[in-house]
């Protein structure tokens, strides 16, 4: 069954245009000018029930606008949306019982209350009986390991603890679809990993469909089997993670600090991006040279420091966008 169906969805925002300086301010009072910005441009896709989908793109690509239309926050200008066979615009309240939302940049919890009180409040919002709320809190408390701080006011929690509570609050009513908009923003790697594990566990145990947006390659790599990339409001790629990894995440960036200058220009599969004295920045094409083979070329005795990283997501997106206007 399809959890989400989107057909030819578009959203335009009207934005006021102001000329620079005081004169501009005066003329905008007398004769205001507006321009239309197409935030989401005719996109269509479907998500299966129980799937974890990454919906990514650079800032301003239209990710959050799409999520907001799927959850009934924004009204689309054109197109059709159906989440669990419900139209979010027409039946917002009915849909709310079936979905959960976590916006990493926006808190839904009352910061002065404890997580326990917050969960009680959210349970009441979803019309759950007190006994059911208690049972659910106990269950989620164990799953998300909240025992330590469930009675500490939210404002005194660390960011990681707070995000865990945000996710729990959004799960109190057992939603069938969970929308996560940058849930790991600002978190340290350990907490990020915890959150990812919890999302996976939740998907496995409750078969919750997860619609995730994130700028973190780790989130996407570790959680999602399918990825949709949007840019300038349009879908530029809708593919499996396996395919994306094979085609686009096949480069590693190695930054190495050597005691002496080393020349790698002749090596196949290695591109020297930067070379200054003993400092080198190399791009390893893992389809041509395995990363361990590349590392063997570096003399460990001569090495002071090394850093290996993936190509940043933004670069991949830019690359995909530059290569293909629309890659469907």
């Amino acid at each position: 069954m399809k959890a989400i169906q989107v057909k030819n969805l578009s959203k335009t925002f009207k934005v006021k245009v102001k000329e620079k300086g005081f004169r501009g301010s005066m003329s905008s009072i007398i004769k205001p000018r507006y321009k239309s910005i197409l935030a989401v441009d005719n996109i269509s896709f479907e998500v299966e029930q129980g799937e974890i989908l990454a919906f990514i793109g650079p800032n301003g690509a239209g990710k959050s606008t799409t999520i907001k239309m799927l959850t009934g926050i924004l009204y689309p200008n054109n197109g059709e949306v159906s989440v669990m066979n419900i139209n979010p615009c027409a039946k917002r309240k009915q849909l709310a019982y079936k979905i959960g939302t976590v916006f990493g940049q926006k808190e839904q919890l009352w910061t002065h209350l404890t997580p326990y009180d917050n969960f009680k409040f959210f349970g009441a919002i979803y019309d759950l009986a007190d006994t059911v709320i208690e049972e659910r809190i106990n269950e989620l408390k164990k799953t998300f390991e909240l025992e330590e701080f469930i009675n500490t006011p939210v404002r005194n929690l660390s960011l990681g603890q707070r995000i865990r509570c945000e996710i729990v609050a959004s799960l109190i009513h057992k939603p069938e679809v969970l929308f996560l908009d940058e849930p790991t923003i600002g978190l340290d790697p350990v907490v990020k990993e915890n959150i990812r594990e919890l999302i996976k566990k939740m998907n496995r145990e409750y078969q919750t469909t997860v619609f995730l947006t994130s700028h973190d390659v780790g989130d996407i790599e570790k959680l999602c089997k399918r990825i949709i990339i949007v840019n300038h409001g349009r879908i530029v790629l809708d593919d499996s993670m396996e395919h994306l990894k094979y085609h686009y995440l096949n480069k590693k960036i190695v930054e190495v600090k050597m005691k002496e200058t080393v020349d790698f220009t002749a090596e196949e599969g290695i591109t020297v991006l930067k070379s200054k004295g003993g400092n080198l920045k190399l791009a390893i094409d893992t389809t041509k040279k395995k990363i361990n083979d590349a590392l063997r070329l570096i003399d460990a005795d001569n090495m002071i420091d090394i850093n290996i990283s993936n190509v940043p997501l933004e670069n991949i997106i830019t690359e995909i966008y530059r290569e293909n206007k629309v890659l469907l």
Partner: protein, 264 residues
């Protein structure tokens, strides 16, 4: 339908309870806020005592009548700000895209929004109102009428705040218009209506409904009139419907935002 209304009412009361719990986190600030608001309101008694010492009748009102007017204004304002404080912050929520968390909840958005905050000093206003009616015009009937008119007044005042606040869906600087209209309404509500004539008086019974929030109820406490009561109840229902209609009409234009925000 009835169950939904019951559930909505339960959430609304829970929201107010949690808001007050938040205010009580700091006991000293909580008590000081309430006490000082009562004292602040009480200082105006001296001002009116001096004025009535100079002139026996001001706009058809005597000292006790003005006190009822002040008491009703305070309790109306208090009740509205205890239960629906966020109605007065609506422009900020609309302009800065802070309605998102309410839109993903299976409850009435407007009720969820307006009941999400409270003002501690408003408790002082409400208590002051009841103190005044008990001191200056105590009777069981007056107390009941005072309670009824505090409720209708609070509902009209809140609906007015929603109507003016909803302007921000259409006008970027709607918060200024809303703020100005609200302060005009508050200033007029503490003076006898008899001193206003002509177009101003007309405005006070139409565009800025102080007449229906304060003046007519005060007149009914002084001399009860069932026809005026029906008119008042009818207007209350009408303005509430209008507030919901305008808010939901505007909500279609809501554009959210990606600003960082917290629910505090």
């Amino acid at each position: 339908m009835l169950t939904a209304a019951k559930q909505q009412g339960k959430v609304l009361l829970l929201s107010v309870k949690y808001n007050i719990m938040r205010q009580m986190t700091n006991r000293a600030a909580f008590i000081t806020n309430i006490t000082f608001m009562i004292l602040n309101n009480a200082t105006f008694i001296i001002q009116w005592m001096i004025l009535f010492h100079l002139k026996e009748d001001i706009g058809g009102y005597h000292m006790n009548d003005v006190m009822v007017l002040w008491g009703l204004a305070a309790s109306t304002y208090g009740l509205s700000h205890i239960f629906f404080q966020t109605a007065y912050n609506l422009p900020d929520l609309i302009i800065n895209g802070k309605l998102d968390s309410y839109l993903v909840q299976p409850k009435n958005v407007l009720l969820g929004v307006i009941s999400s905050g409270t003002n501690t000093s408003a408790i002082g206003d409400l208590l002051y109102g009841y103190l005044i009616i008990c001191i200056f015009r105590f009777s069981i009937v007056n107390l009941l009428l005072f309670t009824l008119f505090s409720i209708t007044g609070a509902l009209i005042l809140t609906a007015f705040a929603i109507l003016t606040g909803s302007l921000s869906f259409w006008i970027v600087k709607g918060d200024m218009i809303s703020g100005n209209l609200h302060s005009v309404l508050l200033h007029f509500s503490t003076y006898p209506d008899g001193i206003f004539k002509g177009i101003i008086r007309l405005l006070l019974y139409t565009l800025i409904p102080v007449g229906l929030i304060i003046y007519l109820p005060v007149k009914m406490i002084l001399r009860f009139d069932p026809f005026t009561l029906l008119l008042l109840l009818g207007f209350t229902v009408l303005i509430i419907f209008l507030a919901f209609f305008v808010f939901y009409k505007g909500l279609r234009r809501y554009s959210s935002s990606n600003l960082m925000s917290a629910r505090i």
